[in-house]
């Protein structure tokens, strides 16, 4: 039941706090990201991470997407979304600490809806991190269709899900 290339990306509603360029420290009202309506007609890169603020995610995974955002957009990407099993307040704070600004939508899947709909979950209960977390993945979703899906074989590492690999696949 795990999503694969060629599938339609599932429709779930995730929340995020938009970045306010006028007042970067403001905590704006949460918005809903609908993965069907908001992805329609667009080329979207969706990056799933096990945990905001955790070492691999913070040092090896997210920063490369931040530094390569212009290259991703030059290759036709309309939207980059980073999502984890954390809630959207945590994702917003993590985005601020990684200086994401409005380049990447930092969405929370605390209810586990995206995880369950894609099957891309990780049970981290043994680590005390909850049983429905997202595993490390990166997907290219073109007008709602998954055209590329990379799932990290070892979620503590970043290889196929890294920004360079996604750039090569675009």
């Amino acid at each position: 039941m795990t999503i694969k290339e060629g599938d339609t990306f599932p429709q779930v509603q995730l929340k995020y706090i938009p970045f306010d360029t006028a007042d970067p420290n403001a905590c704006k009202s949460p918005q809903v990201l609908d993965t069907k309506k908001d992805f329609a007609g667009k080329k979207v890169v969706v990056v799933g991470v096990p945990g905001a603020f955790s070492p691999t995610c913070s040092i090896q995974h997210l920063p490369a997407y931040v530094t390569k955002i212009k290259e991703l957009k030059a290759k036709g990407v309309d939207l980059v979304v980073c999502v984890s099993g954390n809630d959207f307040f945590v994702m917003s704070a993590w985005g601020k600490s990684e200086n994401v600004k409005d380049n990447i939508i930092m969405a929370g899947d605390a209810n586990g809806e995206l995880g369950r709909a894609t099957g891309l979950t990780l049970d981290l209960a043994k680590m005390g991190m909850g049983s429905v977390r997202l595993t490390r993945f990166a997907a290219i979703v073109d007008n709602g269709k998954v055209t590329h899906l990379a799932v990290e074989p070892d979620p503590t590492d970043v290889t196929v899900t890294g920004a360079d690999n996604i750039l090569s696949a675009l």
Binding site: G51, S54, N86, D87, A110, N111, G112, G128, G130
Partner: protein, 169 residues
Amino acid sequence: MAIKVGDVFPDTVLTYVPYDAKNPDACGLPQQLKTHEAFKGKKVVLFAVPGAFTPTCSEEHMPDYVKQVDSMKSKGADLVACVASNDQFVMYAWGKQYNVKDNIMMLSDANGDLGTALGLAQDGTARRMGPIRLKRFAMIIDNLKVIYIGVEPAPGVTVSGASAVLAKL
């Protein structure tokens, strides 16, 4: 079924990332904390927040504990800890934002075991915050026995605040 004064605090496993005074920017290795083992023979102040990095928790609840932690310790508290349903990396980062260092232990109940054992969990799915979140509360636990409990009845910080706890120490 919620815990009350006079009850024994449950024995559950929480996680945390320890603060390293020599290397404050390092993200240390997560550790487990077994509540009975860690709290036995001690006077513990434990306050819980629904969510790290959320407005009320960050603006109204946490800062007062940071300000008053030394007063609490001089009134006999051996350990002051903050717990939430966020994971240990998030709790560590939030604590760093408040410069808690090792004054307040930042504990994670991401598996929801403590919330369930205390009967002080709430369902946050309607707000997209996940199915098991801790309510806002503060407790004083003396050698594993709950001697004070303040569960916030409405949004805001009153009985679970640092001043309320300090008055009971």
